[in-house]
């Protein structure tokens, strides 16, 4: 997993609530057996018209946001399915940070596993960042994970919370499985105990 330390880039405003995983990556793109290559289909149904051409009104198709690395969105982002194709598509497009008032649980988890930083913030602060993002490509935002701070293009600083374990993993690009395998002895002894008390499992 790629490390996430500090990111300065263009933020795209997507002012919609309940952006679900079917919008992020429709199911016809789930038939891949790879993790990469989904970026072109990110937000497919909003991004392309029925004839396959780009929808010029969709934010990521506007010249200012084609290289966005941050996404600012509405409440309950990522609701719906568990498909990790959603964060894979976001990452493959080049977005490493999503800011919203709240996130659906599984999506939120999936982000961290892929080096994406999801930041939940109170609505008023998201509103400030949404306004900042709307200024276009000259409005570059900075997300500093170490300091847990977002700096807007006008220099306003907004602090954010992040779980300490997840922060550690993101900062160091650590693989969860490797970390857990180091606890093999604890798993062994749990299994031995459970084998006695709940042998039918």
């Amino acid at each position: 997993m790629e490390k996430f330390e500090k990111l300065t880039g263009v933020a795209a405003p997507l002012d919609m609530i309940n952006v679900d995983t079917d919008m992020i990556i429709p199911k016809q793109f789930l038939k891949t057996i790879k993790r990469s290559g989904l970026g072109v289909n990110l937000f497919d149904e909003m991004r392309y018209l029925s004839d396959g051409s780009e929808n010029p009104d969709f934010v990521l198709n506007k010249p200012a946001y084609r290289n966005a690395e941050i996404l600012v969105a509405g409440d309950n982002f990522g609701c719906g399915s568990s498909r990790e194709h959603a964060p894979w598509a976001i990452l493959d497009f080049g977005i490493r940070c999503v800011i919203a008032p709240s996130f659906a649980d599984i999506f939120f988890n999936n982000c961290f596993k892929n080096g994406i930083l999801p930041i939940p913030l109170p609505q008023e602060q998201v509103d400030i960042l949404m306004k900042d993002a709307e200024k276009g490509e000259n409005a570059r935002m900075t997300v500093d994970l170490e300091k847990q701070e977002i700096t807007t293009s006008d220099g306003e600083v907004i602090p954010f919370e992040v779980d300490s374990f997840r922060k550690h993993c993101l900062l160091n690009g650590l693989d969860d499985i490797g970390l857990t395998l180091e606890k093999g002895a604890a798993i062994d002894s749990f299994e031995a105990g459970a084998g006695q008390s709940r042998p039918w499992v």
Binding site: K31, E45, D75, S81, S82, T180, I187, W200, V201
Partner: protein, 474 residues
């Protein structure tokens, strides 16, 4: 000892390790795997020379994109990329030695229907699957939730999951349901009340007399949609109905082990004074047969209501409602039961069980699907299908004009060729009405199997109570 909720009890029984910041390692008793969210996880294992830690606790079945047409044995009916995923699962199951129900097996079906049916899902277990509707298994008093592909790989490799504990939420449905009101109406009504983010950060325990009165099938329907309310999982404490359902299933314990299991299972309930972080109470009598009108499962109204106006809502929901109505092609003020439909889909892990098929068939008996409509029933598993054939339900469906399909997810997520055309409107018993869920531009109204059957007969969204015989209503 301090009083605990059912969730607390199951959590504590599976805790392998707890770090100072509250990050926990939870042991996983059952891992269910399907073809769409697992290929990258197995690939990850191979790339890192890792194995499946507990293959005997891992069960795989292809369901999401397998064709459900009767000719599916012919591989040509599958698209190239779907075939690649199913073949990858065939190979991964074999290479890693996990239990497998291939497409050709009569026990094949939707993973959340197969697990309970085969006795893999039992009370007090932790169950995970790379699918958000894993919450279904909570009906057994099992802590069950959906995970992403990286977590699938993590569970395959370590049989554990890194988790933080959720908060406890109680949803109580008191009293009795009125005739024509089903488990689906309960679960949709709860989401209508709490919103799709109302359960975020919580594990919900459903309780109350109306929940106790439900069959295991009905309880699975209720828990299935806990995720649609934002919750990590939904739970129902096990009782005599649960034990009766589990007994004798192929992978349920037998003899002395059954007795030992029962002794523990009977302790699985929330203690009297347990602490709840949030409580929602709904009177069973107040729940009506409902349908969704928009593109979020929280857009729920009784069938007797009319399409709402965006101005009826607040904040971000005003724009969302406007967008929904536009997408759904609906005008505010239209009575819901005047909305004409083109397609009826009965199936999915929400409502693809035998009881659901019985409820739909009871409405369809002696009636016909309205001319020009497309209607299909996709049983949740091969065994549900066989039982429905035996009970004569299949004949009722066929005679009414329904297509009688093989088991799979089918038009619930439309990964296989079963899709809506743009603008096509569907009465569906599945769980998601998102934009494009059933096909690009397709319009989905969620409802119970009986309501979907009623809609098939009249060609419009319909209050099922209009079609219920005097006897059934009384």
């Amino acid at each position: 000892m301090s009083p605990k909720t059912l969730y607390d009890k199951i959590w504590d029984a599976h805790l392998v390790d707890e770090a100072e910041d509250g990050t926990c390692l939870l042991y996983i008793d059952r891992h269910l795997v399907h073809e769409v969210t697992s290929p990258q996880a197995f690939e990850g294992l191979r790339m890192n020379n890792r194995t499946v830690r507990a293959p005997d606790k891992t069960i795989a079945v292809p369901d999401h994109n397998v064709p459900t047409t009767l000719d599916r044995a012919d591989a040509a009916t599958m698209t190239e990329d779907s075939r690649i995923q199913v073949e990858a699962l065939d190979r991964n199951a074999k290479d890693f030695g996990i239990h497998y129900y291939p497409v050709s097996d009569v026990r094949q079906g939707i993973v959340h229907i197969v697990g309970p049916e085969q006795g893999w899902t039992l009370p007090g277990m932790t169950v995970v699957c790379g699918d958000s509707h894993t919450a279904t298994h909570g009906a057994f008093g099992a802590l069950a939730h959906g995970i992403g592909t990286s977590e699938v790989e993590h569970v395959l490799a370590t049989q554990t999951l890194i988790q933080k504990k959720s908060k406890n939420m109680k949803v109580e449905i008191t009293g009795q349901l009125a005739p024509g009101v089903t488990a689906k109406d309960i679960t949709l009504s709860v989401i209508g009340r709490t919103g799709t983010a109302g359960g975020t950060g919580y594990v919900i325990e459903y309780c109350g007399e109306a929940i106790r009165s439900l069959s295991m099938e009905g309880r699975m329907t209720v828990c299935n949609m806990a995720i649609e309310g934002g919750a990590r999982a939904g739970l129902i404490a096990p009782d005599e109905k649960t034990f009766a359902y589990c007994m004798g299933r192929p992978h349920a314990p037998k003899g002395a082990q059954w007795e030992a299991a029962m002794a523990w299972w009977k302790t699985l309930f929330s203690d009297e004074d347990a602490h709840w972080d949030k409580v929602v109470t709904i009177r069973g009598e107040d729940i009506a047969p409902v349908v969704t009108w928009g593109t979020s499962p929280e857009d729920v109204l009784p069938i007797t209501a009319s399409v709402p106006a965006p101005e009826d809502f607040k904040d971000g929901k005003v724009d969302a409602a406007k967008r929904s109505l536009e997408y759904m092609g609906l005008k505010a003020g239209t009575p819901l039961d005047q909305i004409e439909i083109d397609t009826v889909f009965i199936g999915s892990c929400t409502n693809g069980r035998i009881e659901d098929l019985r409820a739909a068939a009871a409405i369809l008996k002696g009636r016909k699907v309205k001319d020009g409509m497309r209607a299909m029933v996709v049983p949740g598993s091969g065994l549900v299908r066989a039982q429905a054939e035996e009970e004569g339900l299949a004949d009722i469906f066929r005679e009414a004009g329904f297509e009688w399909r093989l088991a799979g997810c089918s038009m619930c997520l439309a990964m296989n060729p079963d899709q809506l055309a743009p603008g096509e409107r569907c009465a569906a018993t599945s769980n998601r009405n998102f934009e494009g869920r059933q096909g690009r531009g397709g319009r989905t109204h969620l409802m119970s199997p009986a309501m979907a059957a009623a809609a098939a007969v009249t060609g419009r969204l319909t209050d099922v109570r209009e079609l219920m015989s005097e006897e059934a209503v009384g």
